[in-house]
């Protein structure tokens, strides 16, 4: 089976401006949501307590709300979780003593609301939350740095800069979606974002690898044409590789259960945006930055010359000593 026309070269670069506009709009929406709505930080980063309760019938949310209003947990937020029977109670406070337990306390408070089971009690103290947030930022930063170093080592700094911009583009939109759809930000969302960093780069690398190859093996001098050609040739694999990952993330989102939902959602958005950015964003940046083919070729020629020189010198040296 083949979906893509094999010999057609798509004129992506000619549509650079409208495509850039699409990205710009998505980024503006994301930043707007981030600055006005912000992120809904979960207990991993903000600290607090989460209690998951399952009733044997529909959970009497309004009763629970009324009962909790009278207690010290009047600021508790109660939401459905997955089904009508299951709820999550979020409390901003945490208890630092081992002796008493909020889960247990709620169990007695809610004893008259019906038959239920406390299935999960997660408590993160403010200190740990702060540490986790710090570690999270650190890991994001380290991943970025590692990726830049690797790409500049394997390609050159201009490719690295462009792939970095494409990554920033993907991450902003993914976080924007998390903010817009009010997904709770816990460690798993961070893991999703980091995975996206690594994954979104894969497609970009495939395309860059092809661009590099075309530069080296052909005499094509028109950058736009060269990029269009490389992107079109690699289009099937870019789309299909993303498709298989999309399949797995989609099943995770649909069947993986409520707890893994935020992770799957972030990945889902990220895979789509990442594919889009690999095809359009990264390569149009290369054009915008006036990547010089002639320079690149000259440097490659120089590199080969230096290598040959070295080999020659070594050969002479070895012959001399022999």
């Amino acid at each position: 089976m083949e979906i893509f026309k094999t010999n057609k070269t798509y004129g992506f670069m000619a549509k650079r401006i409208p495509l850039t506009a699409v990205s710009a709009i998505l980024i503006i929406i994301s930043l707007f949501s981030l600055f006005t709505k912000g992120l809904n930080f979960g207990i991993d980063f903000a600290g607090g307590t989460v209690i998951q309760i399952k009733y044997d019938k529909e959970a009497p949310i309004s009763d629970i709300r009324n009962i909790l209003k009278e207690t010290s947990h009047s600021n508790a937020a109660i939401t459905k979780f997955g089904s009508d029977q299951e709820i999550i109670i979020r409390i901003t406070g945490s208890n630092s003593s081992l002796g008493n337990d909020i889960g247990e306390e709620l169990k007695t408070t809610l004893v008259n609301t019906g038959n239920f089971e406390v299935r999960r009690v997660d408590m993160v103290g403010a200190k740990v939350g702060g540490e986790l947030a710090e570690k999270g930022l650190m890991s994001l930063l380290l991943s970025f740095i590692g990726i830049i170093i690797y790409v500049s080592f394997r390609f050159n700094w201009k490719f690295a800069l462009v792939s970095l911009l494409a990554l920033v583009h993907d991450v902003i939109i993914a976080i924007g979606a998390v903010s817009l759809f009010n997904v709770e930000v816990n460690l798993d969302i961070l893991a999703a974002i980091l995975t996206l960093l690594g994954y979104s780069l894969n497609d970009t690398i495939i395309i860059f690898d092809r661009i590099r190859e075309v530069i080296q093996t052909t005499k094509e001098d028109d950058l736009e044409k060269l990029i269009d050609d490389s992107v079109s040739r690699t289009l099937p694999r870019t789309v299909l590789t993303s498709l298989t990952v999309f399949f797995t993330v989609l099943t995770l989102y649909l069947f993986g259960g409520e707890i893994i939902n935020g992770f799957a959602f972030t990945m889902l958005v990220g895979v789509i945006v990442g594919t889009y950015s690999s095809i359009f964003v990264a390569s149009s940046f290369l054009v915008n930055f006036r990547f010089s083919i002639a320079n690149y070729r000259a440097k490659e020629v120089e590199k080969i010359r230096v290598q040959k020189e070295k080999a020659k010198n070594r050969a002479m040296f070895e012959q001399g000593t022999l």
């Binding site: 094999t6 998951q52 081992l98 460690l187 980091l194 990952v245 399949f247 797995t248 993330v249 989609l250």
Partner: protein, 521 residues
């Protein structure tokens, strides 16, 4: 070309290894190394505890005071105003001739910073010793908590130190709220037993005394455990503490109340004997964790070094106190920094949901590869199955923990592992279109695609390593499965599939039908 090329042999070895070592985990056999399920999948309790290490420094200061007191009593040296302050012990010697004796005794204790002005002594701990004491306190707390949990009879408690002053406690065996409560109480109990002398001269004024007044006499005010209004004025420096207890057992008194009988070591027994013989007619306070449990009259010298704590315990409480006393006191109190408890039913739900996602995701990718790539897709799927077995086998071998995000990681790896095959097959199709023969297209396709695949996998691996280093608990599980999956996929997906093609070509499969082979004309 031979049928059994080295690539195919590696793939076959991988499959054998994968299947053999994943059998114990998949079939849950009794023997063999298995993947451990994370607390989020099997249910259990995870806690991060912070040790209040400054308390350990405080109690060390206190023990120095006890030593000074005991030494001066024993040698009949005259000292005055022995006081425990915030971070030091101070006292003064009445007779200057006795200074050398005191100095010799103090030089026997390491890590002290002593300042002398005339006859007055101020003893502090050196900064290095404070660090050492704190460090030791955490190590000791880990040991103590582990001992207590072992004796409590929970399966596989896991107690590990984390960072400077934190302790991770993982209890997969916890299934009910009652178990959890019991374990938490057991851990949190400092079990600091002290035998203290009641200041009989001033005890009748205790109700009108402030803490600072009491402290100026070298005393402290303690409450009774059952009746908070009943107060005792006791000498701040204890006669003995729990470190001299070698055994503690639950017993029952005449009215069938649970009590705890404890036994002291020989030093403790000697000190206790001497003290009781000198203080007949006075009272002794049995203090546990800062509460007075009983204050019996000393009628005679108590030799033999045993005593009892009574104070209206339930049998379970008495059992916990006895365990705590036997396994030693916590050198400092602990605070709960983080707690995650998952009930077994939620864990089972998570396993079910993630398994459904795993199987359906797998089938979707599987089906897609066959429909789109025909023969090449089947070959890629063989590698994919081998990869899943390999991931499970390697995790089992290293005793890695499978968490819910870890399941997501395996599923994601399936989606990413076939990427290598898609890249290779697309490349082969491209070369075929240029008119090359199938064997040449295969060789060139692999040669050209590998560079890009390795490049892109390394970035994912890099991120996974960062996640492993900075992530905690379940997220670490995700980093583990995805890292293993990426590495194994390079072996099965690139090397393995290449081996299959070479073997097929060697068998003399001489087809020109590129459609059945690669799904494209």
């Amino acid at each position: 070309m031979k049928i059994f090329n080295y690539r195919l042999i590696i793939l076959l070895l991988c499959i054998i290894f994968g299947v053999v070592f994943s059998i114990p985990s998949l079939l849950q056999t009794n023997t063999g190394k298995k993947i451990a399920l994370g607390l989020d999948l099997q249910g259990g309790l995870h806690m991060l505890l912070g040790v209040n290490t400054h308390e350990a420094v405080g109690s060390k200061i206190k023990s120095i005071a006890t030593t000074v007191k005991y030494f001066s009593d024993d040698e009949e040296l005259l000292i005055d105003g022995l006081l425990i302050n915030e971070d030091n012990v101070s006292f003064s010697v009445l007779d200057a001739d006795e200074i050398p004796k005191i100095d010799t005794m103090l030089s026997g204790i390491k890590g002290l910073a002593i300042t002398k002005t005339g006859l007055e002594y101020t003893i502090k701990l050196t900064p290095e010793d404070i660090i050492k004491t704190k460090d030791l306190a955490v190590a000791q707390a880990v040991e103590t908590i582990r001992n207590r949990l072992d004796q409590f009879g929970l399966s596989e408690p896991n107690v590990i130190r984390q960072g400077e002053s934190d302790i991770v406690v993982e209890l997969p065996g916890i299934k009910t709220a009652e178990d959890e409560k019991g374990a938490r109480e057991l851990i949190s109990k400092p079990a600091n037993l002290e035998l203290m002398a009641i200041d009989e001269e001033k005890n009748d004024q205790v109700n009108n005394m402030t803490n600072s007044q009491a402290s100026s006499y070298g005393d402290i005010i303690l409450e009774d455990t059952k009746n908070p209004n009943l107060k005792y004025l006791v000498k701040e420096i204890p006669i003995l503490n729990g470190s001299q207890v070698i055994d503690a057992q639950v017993a029952f008194d005449k009215s069938n109340q649970a009590i705890i009988n404890f036994t002291l070591n020989s030093t403790g027994a000697r000190i206790f004997g001497e003290f009781t013989s000198k203080n007949i007619g006075k009272r002794l306070a049995v203090v546990l964790d800062g509460k007075v449990y009983s204050a019996p009259n000393i009628r005679e010298r108590i030799g033999g070094g045993s005593g009892q704590i009574s104070g209206g315990f339930t049998v379970a409480e008495a059992g916990n106190v006895a365990i705590a006393l036997r396994s030693g006191a916590l050198p400092a109190t602990v605070t709960l920094l983080e707690k995650r408890s998952v009930g077994p039913s939620l864990g089972a739900d998570s396993i079910r949901a993630s398994s459904i996602a795993l199987v359906s995701g797998f089938l979707l990718v599987f089906g897609f590869m066959i429909v789109y790539y025909k023969g090449a897709g089947i070959i890629a799927n063989v590698a994919l199955i081998a990869n899943v077995f390999l991931i499970i086998a390697i995790m089992a071998m290293f005793g890695a923990t499978l968490t819910l995000p870890g399941m997501a990681g395996i599923l994601l790896t399936i989606g990413m592992a076939v990427d290598a095959n898609i890249i290779i097959i697309e490349r082969i199709r491209e070369i075929l279109r240029e008119g090359a023969s199938i064997p040449k297209a295969i060789e060139d396709g692999y040669l050209n695609a590998i560079r890009a695949i390795v490049d892109s996998n390394i970035t994912t691996l890099l991120v996974a390593v960062v996640l492993y280093v900075y992530g905690t608990g379940p997220i670490k599980g995700f980093a583990v499965t995805i890292s293993i999956g990426i590495i194994t996929s390079m072996v099965t997906g690139i090397l393995g599939t290449h081996g299959i093609y070479q073997a097929l070509l060697a068998r003399g499969v001489k087809t020109k039908n590129t459609y059945t082979w690669f799904g494209a004309k």
